[in-house]
């Protein structure tokens, strides 16, 4: 089986060696699973290499009942070109009739979807994608390598405003033309596509799993880039109706079968109950909803009390209180470190999100990331913070901490502000409505930003802390950090990588640019009738296998 999946000798050997180490315990098991699946091993294969069986979900022994419409409480945001999606909710609507090439699972592994499998060469510069045979679009067209080439080319188009896939596909893009490099994407045959990268990059496959990576039909552009008018997809459901702010309804795919079989549900409805939790609770009480797409940390207790069943998943989704090093007084590292020292991350976790998460350590790589390296723990030091701030001559500076108005943002900001005040710093809190906040999110001197989970730690480091990146809101620039990150992205041997990651984490932590208090645990709630439905670490709702008890 291993031979079959991993044609490339190098990875077969490496994975074999890592599996041995993972069995011995010198590499984390989760790390092995994630890495093995990035390089093309199926989840079952990866578990098999560890000598384990794939964990089965609860109630797997019950026979699923076919039928019923699942009603999911979720914001129904307006639809746009998938590559510029900025809310998981947008992706979740489209996901019911679109698929991605590769999906990320609740077990933190990568699974082929529209791809059947893929091969990676030794230095991660060449990827061969094998398109899944027998997939049809719901308009009858066959899904082929042309669709894959079309989509990856679209992702590489940097000239399109708001195309966030371009950042994930950077290794394929020619900066001069702002499009895919000549020869970067080649169709080998109808079911094979080859990607040639200009430099090694292990994040290409993980980048394809994100919600902007949903695959659209090759006529998408011709049809006016409108998914609502032309809901052509490969997925298990078909779009029936769509109304922003109200409802998106789907039915089981009728014309042409879904490649994964057939959904248990007759249909799915996403219903928008707005931001007031009271409306959602009422909807459950009057039997208008079966489950939520997510439950924000602050509201978990309310939903629990309403008698609903909760599902949770540990993630590396997080929030950071970041300083912008180009703005005074945050250009002074002492000021930044003083802010960090004044805050006890565990307290922020308990007050900001009612303890629904795990403590983080101000370097934005999570223990659940495969490449996490442990650093010595730091503890709060008020006296030290005060001393450092006084040294920097900024003890009288009034820090303005800006956050968006979402509940957990606000609470986390208020908790940090209270801790800073306790250390004798002056803090003013400002809250902006979400839509206003994002106007200038990279420019505020001191503000808070949330980051969704990315499967690999290096993905966020590359997006957020590398010199000159569009999303580098800290304006941090450190050639040493950039160089080491380059190496980490190229994926050296696991043992070297640990050393490099440790350095990267240490540099980031010492720089003081972020207070990163916690990693979120994500939740959703459901009634007892909903089976096989769980929270996904990337907020994705995969409903093909969900079923409703009679």
């Amino acid at each position: 089986m291993i031979k079959e999946t991993l044609k490339n000798g190098f990875w077969r050997k490496s994975l074999g060696a890592w599996a041995a180490e993972a069995r011995e315990g010198s590499i984390d098991r989760r790390e092995f699973l994630a890495l093995a699946t990035i390089f093309g091993a199926s989840t079952a294969t990866a578990y098999g290499m560890l000598g384990l069986a794939v964990p089965t979900p609860a109630h797997a022994d019950e026979t699923p009942r076919k039928g019923g419409v699942l009603r999911v409480g979720m914001f129904v945001k307006d639809q746009k070109d998938p590559r510029s999606y900025d809310w998981p909710e947008m992706g979740n609507v489209a996901r019911q009739f679109l698929d991605s090439l590769v999906t990320y699972t609740r077990e933190y592994t990568f699974e082929p979807a529209l791809l059947e499998k893929w091969d990676v060469n030794a230095d991660a510069t060449e990827y061969v994608l094998h398109v899944r045979p027998g997939v049809t679009w719901n308009n009858g067209d066959a899904f082929t390598a042309d669709d894959v080439v079309f989509n990856i080319n679209r992702w590489c188009d940097q000239s399109v405003a708001g195309n966030s896939m371009a950042a994930r596909m950077a290794a394929l893009i020619d900066p001069a033309t702002k499009k895919a490099r000549e020869g970067a994407i080649t169709k080998v045959d109808d079911h094979t596509v080859k990607l040639s990268l200009k430099k090694p990059d292990i994040t290409i496959i993980p980048g394809m799993t994100d919600y902007p990576g949903l695959v659209v039909h090759r006529d998408f552009e011709k049809d006016g880039k409108d998914l609502v008018k032309h809901p052509i997809g490969t997925g298990a459901f078909e779009l029936v109706s769509f109304e922003v702010g109200k409802k998106a309804a789907f039915k089981r795919r009728t014309n042409g079968k879904w490649w994964g079989g057939e959904s248990h549900l007759d249909g799915v409805e996403f219903i928008d109950y707005g931001p007031d939790i009271s409306a959602t609770v009422s909807a459950f009480e009057s039997n208008e909803l079966d489950c939520t797409m997510k439950t924000d940390a602050g509201y978990v207790a309310i939903m629990d009390k309403a008698g609903l069943i909760r599902s949770d998943v540990r993630t590396s989704a997080t929030i950071v209180a970041r300083t912008n090093v180009k703005q005074k007084p945050y250009d002074d590292q002492r000021v930044r470190n003083a802010l960090q020292m004044a805050v006890d991350n565990a307290t922020i976790l308990s007050l900001g999100v009612d303890g629904h998460g795990t403590v983080a350590e101000n370097f934005h790589v999570a223990p659940i990331h495969p490449e996490y390296a442990e650093l010595p723990k730091k503890s709060r030091d008020i006296a030290g913070a005060k001393k450092l701030m006084t040294e920097a001559g900024q003890i009288d500076h009034e820090h303005e901490l800006i956050t968006s108005d979402e509940e957990w943002y606000k609470n986390t900001g208020d908790a940090i502000a209270a801790q800073l005040r306790e250390a004798g710093f002056k803090v003013k809190r400002t809250v902006l409505p979400g839509s206003t906040f994002w106007n200038d999110w990279t420019k505020y001197p001191y503000s808070m930003t949330d980051w969704n989970m990315r499967p690999l730690g290096v993905q966020v480091l590359a997006l957020a802390y590398r010199t000159g990146e569009a999303w580098n809101e800290t304006a941090y620039s450190n050639p040493e950090f950039d160089a080491k990150l380059e190496k980490a992205l190229a994926m050296p041997d696991p043992k070297d990588r640990k050393v490099i990651m440790k350095d990267l984490e240490q540099i980031l932590q010492d720089s003081g640019i972020i207070i990163q208090p916690y990693w979120l645990t994500l939740y959703n709630h459901r009634t007892a009738a909903v089976m096989n439905y769980g929270m996904h670490p990337l907020y994705e709702t995969h409903l093909e296998r969900v079923w409703l008890k009679a």
Binding site: A301, I302, L351, K410
Partner: protein, 383 residues
């Protein structure tokens, strides 16, 4: 964690509020002793309604004044283990109780309600008075002169009433707008209105008594200049109040949100009262238009206006919280009652006390104002 019993909470709260009780005792004691010399005030205190109203209003006034002595904890400080604790929970570190429990950010609800009085008792009445004076100054001439004047003023009021103020709220918080002169210009105009109003009031009423007039005008200008300096330029010469641009926005928001409504009420009352005999009599006497408006019509319209103002102080307090949705005005951690209620009401299903305490505080304050206003009216008409 240890808790006080309900009885202990009551006793402890009562004890904690001793400066308020002492002050109340002094005020009521003196007013009973000197009731004959106090005229209307004495009568008001003697009536049950007046007593109740005054008690509630003075309670919050003294609570605001002595706030720092009464609070057991700083209203912004958080003690993590006290998060969402029930009323009477004792902080094991300091040994002091959270009398009304802790909120979602582990702050002392009791201390916050008391601290909230300091904010609410300054901002809410002042902002309401501002809106009221704008409404009166424009409503009187609109109703009295009619025709062109009415057309122009009604046009303006309707423009503001129909304006999607939310758009302005969003704009006022956009980075960059606060630094422009827009908020200051708006505030400058609004704060000028009451000064002009009182000026005209005294000029028209005391034309024949130059000394009285000079005295009153001087006082108006003095108070007006202080308000102007403090609120528009944030340069209080006495250093009592600090007004940040975001607080200034509250006044603008209240004036814009309440002004047109008050304008319409005043206009309608003026239209009605203008037809009464005593107005016609004054016109025949040859009194000036402003004299008639301010000294004949306004006093006769005061009943509904006072009621409106007393209730509007409550609405303004609620608005303090609602404005928070737009990031306007108070920061989310502010202990003012409106923000406290808004921040904690979604969680009433699991923890009722953080929302209930400020809601009761606000209700009792508004109730007190209204009862007091009722009593003053009743007593003043008794003879």
């Amino acid at each position: 964690m240890q808790f006080l019993s309900p009885g202990q909470i009551v006793v402890r709260s009562f004890v904690q509020l001793w400066p308020v009780w002492a002050s109340l005792a002094v005020v009521f004691g003196l007013s009973v002793v000197y009731r004959r010399k106090l005229g209307l005030f004495g009568q008001v205190v003697e009536s049950a309604t007046g007593f109740a109203g005054l008690l509630l209003v003075l309670f919050w006034l003294f609570a605001a004044v002595f706030g720092r002595r009464i609070e057991l904890f700083d209203p912004l400080s958080q003690i993590a283990r006290m998060q969402n604790t029930a009323p009477g929970a004792i902080d094991p570190h300091s040994g002091l109780p959270y009398l009304f429990g802790g909120d979602k950010l582990a702050r002392d609800v009791f201390g916050r309600v008391i601290a909230g009085a300091r904010i609410v008792l300054i901002i809410a009445p002042l902002a309401t008075m501002l809106a009221l004076s704008v409404g009166i100054s424009l409503g009187l001439p609109a109703g009295y002169f009619g025709r062109r004047v009415d057309a122009v003023l009604s046009f303006l009021a309707n423009l503001v009433l129909a304006f999607p103020i939310i758009l302005l709220f969003y704009l006022l918080v956009s980075p960059g707008i606060l630094e422009t002169p827009i908020p200051y210009t708006l505030a400058g105009v609004f704060f000028a209105v009451p000064i002009v109003l009182f000026g005209v009031l005294f000029v028209s009423g005391y034309r024949t008594q130059p000394t009285q007039l000079a005295l009153r005008l001087a006082l108006t200008l003095l108070v007006g200049a202080w308000l102007f300096a403090t609120f528009v330029f944030n340069a209080d010469p006495f250093g009592i109040l600090k007004v940040s641009p975001s607080t200034l926005n509250i006044f603008i928001a209240v004036a814009l949100a309440s002004g047109p409504g008050i304008f319409r009420i005043v206009r309608s009352l003026t239209l009605d009262i203008k037809t009464r005999e005593y107005v016609l009599a004054a016109q025949t006497r040859g009194e000036s238009a402003w004299y008639i408006m301010l000294w004949e019509i306004l006093p006769n319209a005061r009943g509904p206006l006072i009621v409106d103002a007393c209730l509007r102080i409550g609405y303004t307090t609620i608005l303090l919280g609602a404005l928070g949705y737009f990031g306007l005005g108070m920061p989310p951690e502010s202990p003012d009652w409106g923000t406290m209620i808004k921040e904690s009401s979604p969680f009433m299903r699991i923890f009722w006390h953080p929302a209930l305490a400020p809601a009761l505080a606000m209700m009792s304050f508004v109730l007190g104002l209204n009862l007091l206003a009722d009593a003053i009216r009743e007593q003043s008409l008794r003879d």
